[in-house]
């Protein structure tokens, strides 16, 4: 006996299933954010954000972790941005296919797929031990800079590619050299796209745990130099939750993390859209 469903019926069934699965996915995201906010926003107040951490996180605030996160992230983008944007400029303006281009693209793609625990192992053995930097902001920042490099390369590359060829031709016809054209025409035009890449890199760095816990350390004291060991927000949250030190403080820290991530993604999204609207 052959059993066939009418194509029109199968279309309706398929549509319903796809719609349901999509709605479930979206509601998972909304649920996660709502759940963290519901339990965590109540914990947020000025004291929590501006006080030192006391009793391993049971009491007090999260100021050292906020400062630690800020410094580690800042260092990572200060290192990764010139490297990433430089790579992107070389890829788009100086190579026309060929082996070098393929090799660099391959490197960036592979690096993007490397899991953060591998960056943690690498940062630990290379920056902390071999270069003898010790656990601290500098080792953590360097490790994260390697991790976010592919994000910045790829986004900047797309942004620079989107700058119309005519812009470059006009600059050349006015007597501009290649470097002048890149500096005065290509980069300013591609800037919003490049900044989007940097912001996405910041987002990855802020939420990272596995790569920083073995490089930046987990000290709760206020950092005094770039060699100081520090505990980033994500690491602090991990320790609070896993060791069951204080669920309330864990929720509060999670809320701060989620707010940061939402803000970072929102800014990146807005910038990208303005950029796309203008040049695509």
């Amino acid at each position: 006996m052959t059993f066939r469903i009418d194509p029109r019926t199968s279309q309706i069934i398929a549509y319903t299933i796809l719609l349901t699965l999509t709605l479930i996915t979206v509601s998972i995201l909304i649920f996660i954010i709502a759940f963290v906010f519901k339990n965590g926003l109540g914990e947020l107040n000025l004291e929590f954000l501006t006080q030192k951490t006391k009793e391993m996180g049971k009491e007090g605030g999260i100021l050292p972790s906020i400062i630690g996160t800020f410094l580690v992230t800042l260092l990572s983008i200060v290192i990764a941005t010139p490297l990433g944007v430089g790579s992107a400029i070389y890829l788009t303006e100086y190579t026309k296919g060929g082996l070098i281009r393929r090799l660099i693209s391959f490197g960036a793609d592979c690096l993007a797929g490397v899991p953060s625990i591998i960056f943690g192992l690498f940062g630990f053995i290379f920056f902390v031990i071999k270069l003898n930097l010790g656990w601290g902001i500098i080792a953590g920042g360097l490790t994260l800079s390697v991790m976010i490099l592919p994000t910045i390369i790829r986004t900047s590359e797309e942004a620079i590619k989107a700058v119309p060829i005519a812009y470059r031709e006009i600059s050349y016809s006015l007597g501009g050299g290649k470097l002048d054209t890149i500096q005065k025409v290509v980069l300013p035009t591609a800037l919003p796209g490049i900044i989007t890449g940097v912001i996405l890199g910041i987002g990855r760095a802020v939420g990272e745990t596995a790569a920083v816990i073995f490089t930046a350390g987990s000290s709760l004291s206020m950092p005094t130099s770039i060699f100081s060991s520090t505990r980033t927000l994500a690491v602090h949250f991990y320790i609070l939750a896993r060791e069951g030190i204080s669920m309330n403080k864990a929720y509060g820290t999670a809320a701060v993390l989620i707010i940061l991530i939402l803000l970072i993604n929102f800014i990146a999204y807005r910038l990208m859209h303005r950029f796309i609207a203008r040049y695509y």
């Binding site: 699965l21 963290v36 790579s87 070098i100 660099i104 797929g113 490099l149 802020v206 896993r242």
Partner: protein, 277 residues
């Protein structure tokens, strides 16, 4: 002159990604590979993990990683493909514009937050419904399935969108319904992109660490059911690196080397598949 210097300088900078990849490969292998040879392949791929007493077998962790990854794909693929197809083919531009960034936001949520949600919601839920400790292959699979969704959705969506409109029009002109068009014309045409998305998602699942540590239970034995706790390669590295020394630390780098090789193979397959287009 200035142009020449700039070009040289940019060339050097452009090699930073490759250089980073080489440094990572070198240092992880340098620390880990000698131990694999010292222990011997047979012992390295055994279940005897007593790194303080010279037992360096990682088999139960390999099985653990494979189980949670397979589980993640079982949850991630249907949801991921459904979202990608729904967004690309069944929804108007305005819906695409709102839903795509929302799904991509899932990728931005830190993995520790996923682990935490696992601890406070999923683990107690599994404990209530199915019994056991709750910290299990199942819990890890569900959370990892959610975590790899954005990867699968983004890449599959992009490859579906890239299928020429003529394919759609041709199929519809032959009297096919929209769903028949998707199944018979669009998915086959976008196949390589979809597979690449799944492979990259698989790489994310194998490599994920913090979320898995928090919810998988980390017991060091081969699980017999999906409700048993499990320890992955990544969890072992993160749990033990802090206090390890000597051969124990080398063994963790050996785990890292093994993981790194698998990830690079997956990446190369995914890159090859997409570049063939």
């Amino acid at each position: 002159m200035k142009d020449k210097i700039a070009e040289r300088l940019l060339l050097i900078i452009a090699f930073s990604a490759i250089l980073a990849l080489l440094l990572i490969t070198f240092f992880i292998f340098e620390q880990g590979v000698p131990l694999i040879f010292k222990a011997g392949f047979q012992d390295f791929f055994s279940t005897n993990w007593r790194p303080m007493q010279g037992g360096f077998g990682i088999l139960s962790m390999i099985v653990g990683s494979l189980m949670v990854t397979a589980g993640a794909l079982i949850f991630g693929i249907p949801f991921g493909l459904a979202c990608a197809i729904f967004l690309a083919e069944f929804s108007p531009k305005s819906v695409q514009k709102t839903l795509k960034p929302i799904i991509e936001l899932l990728a931005g949520i830190p993995s520790v937050v996923y682990g935490f949600i696992g601890i406070v919601i999923l683990v107690p839920f599994i404990r209530e419904i199915f019994g056991g400790a709750g910290f299990s292959v199942l819990a890890a699979s569900i959370i990892l399935g959610i975590m790899i969704l954005p990867t699968i959705v983004s890449i599959s969506y992009d490859s579906l969108i890239a299928v020429p409109t003529t394919y759609r029009e041709g199929s519809l002109a032959l009297g096919a319904t929209k769903w028949q068009t998707i199944v018979m014309a669009l998915i086959p045409a976008a196949r390589s992109g979809i597979i690449a998305g799944i492979i990259l998602g698989m790489g994310r699942a194998i490599g994920e660490t913090m979320a898995v540590i928090m919810i998988a239970g980390n017991a060091l034995k081969i699980p017999h059911s999906i409700l048993d706790p499990v320890r992955t390669i990544t969890s072992t590295i993160a749990l033990e690196l802090g206090y390890s020394a000597g051969d124990h630390r080398a063994a963790l780098f050996a785990c890292g080397s093994f993981l790194f090789i698998i990830i690079i193979i997956l990446n190369i397959i995914a890159i090859r598949i997409t570049k063939r287009e």
